[in-house]
């Protein structure tokens, strides 16, 4: 089983990504926790919700939380894909999920995820990170605390710096 970073700790990943559900879902244990693409989830949600294992969805940068937020109670995990680490749409999506739609489960960054982005991701509402497989996770943990001063409000800190001053 591969490892991920969750809440700033390295843990075993409890989830399986199903890239091609039509083909692979049948052979996957019904108790496994799976992640499928949003489009597939929306089409098959009744059967997916009935599984014993949990079901999470994978969002692409173009997916819009505005269009499926009514379903969030049925979604056990949201993975947001970063096709390239320079593609920053996922940061806005995570903030919307957290701040506007109050999503409380795991929000996981997947794809081209590198340590230098982790702190910004965390501030936007991510709490789990599937680092690119060639990267050292122990070292990556250090980057959460590289910068300790945040001017802006964010998902955890509700006040911008000028409202935090004594």
């Amino acid at each position: 089983m591969s490892k991920i970073i969750k809440n700033r700790e390295i843990i075993e990943d409890q989830w399986v990504s199903i890239d091609n559900p039509e083909q692979d879902l049948a052979s996957t244990d019904a108790s496994a926790n799976i992640i499928v693409e949003l489009a597939y989830w929306l089409e098959n949600k009744t059967s997916l919700i009935e599984r014993t294992g949990k079901v999470g969805v994978l969002l692409l940068g173009s997916d819009e939380p505005e269009l499926f937020h009514q379903e969030l109670n049925n979604i056990d995990l949201i993975a947001i894909n970063f096709p390239k680490f320079g593609d920053g749409r996922g940061y806005s999506i995570a903030r919307l999920l957290c701040e506007r739609y109050d999503y409380q489960q795991e929000i996981r960054a997947v794809g081209d995820v590198l340590r230098d982005q982790l702190r910004f991701m965390e501030r936007c509402g991510f709490n789990a990170y599937a680092l690119r497989s060639d990267r050292n996770m122990e070292e990556a943990l250090a980057s959460f605390s590289a910068i300790s001063v945040d001017y802006q409000s964010d998902v955890a800190e509700k006040k911008p710096i000028y409202n935090r001053r004594p």
């Binding site: 920053g88 940061y91 300790s148 001017y151 911008p160 000028y162």
Partner: protein, 553 residues
């Protein structure tokens, strides 16, 4: 000027350490070229034709003399003895080595300076009117708002990986837009409404480059308390919907054009409804506190045109000309705004040596409350000079080569480093500037031509804003040979016009001739009191075109 608090300094120190670590990981091979590229760009480091280029942020163009001396020190120690003032009021070093950059950033941090977000696809340095706070013609000092925007945009977690770079400019001027706000991604114009309240006109989608467009008004009046929530909404819409498939179509202007400004404005408003009246509300107390960081210096009560100035004007014609060309009226009686020309003949526009920087710092300490400003015309301003000191100051500026009385003349050329230095350039730009300055060396003629702007860019990226020069020159490459395209009628001001191309491009050797022909035609056609731009707007392109191409054929 804003003085760093403990947390501002801590952030910078941590940022330097972070970048040092990133550089080391790159040298150890743990970061690929591409991965390091994005990280170094967010710290202002480009790799150029000969060496890296380090762009240092000068928030809204303001420097104290300690900072100026530090820049001189860096130029001397880590570079070849000079720095370059950019068209976004920043300072660039053309020859640092990549290994030294963490040390340079450390030196900068020691004087509250940095290179954070001076390049890369993020929110860049906020620019403003170089006469902010000292001109009589403004609604209020825009700099407190610029600093508020600086803090909000610095290491913003959501907007570090935008589709493309993002530039914000602010002006509160009523006479002239010296910050070219309508050619920024977001332009903010501070206005007063009928009730006497201060607010912002919000323009969006302006920019130059391959698709020059003037920004469109999407919010006619935004209250100051809503400034950050509205900016955040704008950036979020751009971050989510701006194109990422083609870097030449990725600026916000393309999105605004594709959606239309009305639809784009509606999308921002929808987003803003969720964000306004929330965490980003800017309390009045914060605005007032920020204003406290930009106090008026200790002005004396003085009279305009004191005897030493009146006498000097009478006795010295060259001084009078300099006074007319290179200085501007100050809001306080007995004071004057002085512009130091950095574009004398044969030196690249905007270049300044380490020794000159030291001299500028000394002069600012002596004559202008220890503050210096960079302008987007690549000059330097001493904003608070006593009129009785002007003659002394002028003599010293002459000694050091800053007194060329060419501000707003055809010789005050805005020019990028071009093909001599820049990896992006298609053509050289500096030799063209030199050629034109040498052609117009008769200053009686230069003053007769009057107010005009001439901008030269070495490529489509338009760093020198050739589209909005009254005369714009663009270097293009055709089958390995350099040619120059000329446009007329550009206007950076509130009316915001993009210049029109006059016709087929010209050989390098003909550019000065062409400019001269254009100028002569203006002189022959103008009506008393008209500037070049006014004449062009009245008579149109056709006759200029005729003159230029008849002569060339």
């Amino acid at each position: 000027m804003y003085a760093y608090k403990e947390y501002d300094q801590q952030l910078l120190n941590e940022r330097v350490a972070q970048y040092r670590d990133q550089t080391q990981r790159f040298f150890k091979g743990e970061l690929s070229e591409d991965e390091f590229l994005i990280l170094r760009l967010q710290n202002g480091l480009y790799v150029q034709r000969h060496a890296p280029l380090l762009r240092v942020a000068v928030p809204y163009g303001m420097l104290n003399t300690e900072q100026v001396r530090k820049l001189a020190h860096i130029a001397r120690t880590y570079d070849k003895g000079y720095a370059h003032i950019s068209t976004r009021q920043n300072v660039q070093f053309n020859w640092p080595s990549m290994e030294n950059v963490p040390d340079i950033l450390g030196e900068l941090a020691s004087v509250q300076m940095h290179a954070v977000q001076t390049s890369g696809n993020c929110i860049r340095n906020t620019t403003t009117d170089q006469f902010a706070g000292v001109t009589a013609n403004e609604i209020t000092d825009p700099r407190p708002y610029c600093e508020i925007i600086r803090q909000w945009s610095t290491l913003h977690p959501e907007f570090a990986y935008l589709p493309r770079k993002f530039k914000i400019a602010v002006t509160a001027a009523t006479d002239e837009d010296r910050a070219a706000i309508r050619f920024n991604d977001v332009g903010l114009r501070i206005i007063k409404n009928d009730a006497g309240e201060i607010g912002f006109e919000v323009f969006v989608g302006g920019g130059l480059g391959r698709t020059p467009l003037a920004g469109s008004l999407i919010k006619p009046f935004l209250a100051p308390k809503d400034l950050l929530s509205y900016l955040e909404a704008t950036l979020r819409v751009y971050n989510r919907y701006g194109r990422r498939d083609n870097k030449y179509k990725a600026r916000i202007k393309i999105l605004v054009k594709a959606l239309t400004p009305e639809v784009f404005g509606k999308k921002v408003d929808e987003e803003w409804q969720h964000l306004r009246d929330g965490a980003l509300d800017l309390p009045n107390a914060e605005i007032e506190q920020m204003k406290g960081y930009f106090p008026e210096p200790a002005y004396e009560t003085l009279e305009n045109n004191p005897p030493p100035l009146a006498d000097a004007k009478k006795e010295n014609g060259a001084f009078s000309i300099w006074l007319r060309q290179n200085t501007d009226e100050h809001k306080k009686a007995g004071y004057q705004i002085v512009t130091l020309s950095l574009s004398p003949t044969s030196v690249a526009p905007g270049d300044v040596t380490d020794n000159q920087l030291d001299v500028i710092a000394d002069l600012a300490d002596k004559y202008s409350f220890g503050e210096v400003r960079n302008t987007h015309n690549q000059n330097i301003v001493l904003a608070d000079v006593k009129q009785e000191d002007l003659y002394d100051l002028w003599k010293q500026l002459q000694t050091h080569g800053f007194a060329t009385a060419n501000i707003h003349t055809i010789n005050d050329i805005i020019c990028c480093p071009g093909g001599d230095f820049c990896a992006l350039a298609n053509a050289k730009s500096l030799p063209i500037a030199d050629q034109i300055q040498k052609r117009f060396d008769d200053y009686d003629f230069v003053y007769d031509i009057g107010e005009i702007s001439l901008n030269i860019s070495g490529c489509m990226n338009a760093c020198s804003h050739h589209h909005i020069g009254n005369i714009g020159i663009l270097g293009v490459d055709k089958k390995g040979k350099e040619f120059y395209q000329v446009s007329l009628g550009g206007d950076a001001g509130f009316s915001a016009n993009v210049g029109k191309i006059i016709g087929p491009s010209f050989n390098e050797g003909d550019v000065a001739d062409v400019v001269e022909t254009i100028i002569k035609h203006y002189i022959d056609s103008r009506i008393e009191g008209e500037t070049f731009l006014m004449t062009y707007q009245r008579i149109g392109m056709a006759s200029f075109k005729e003159k230029v191409y008849v002569k060339n054929n």
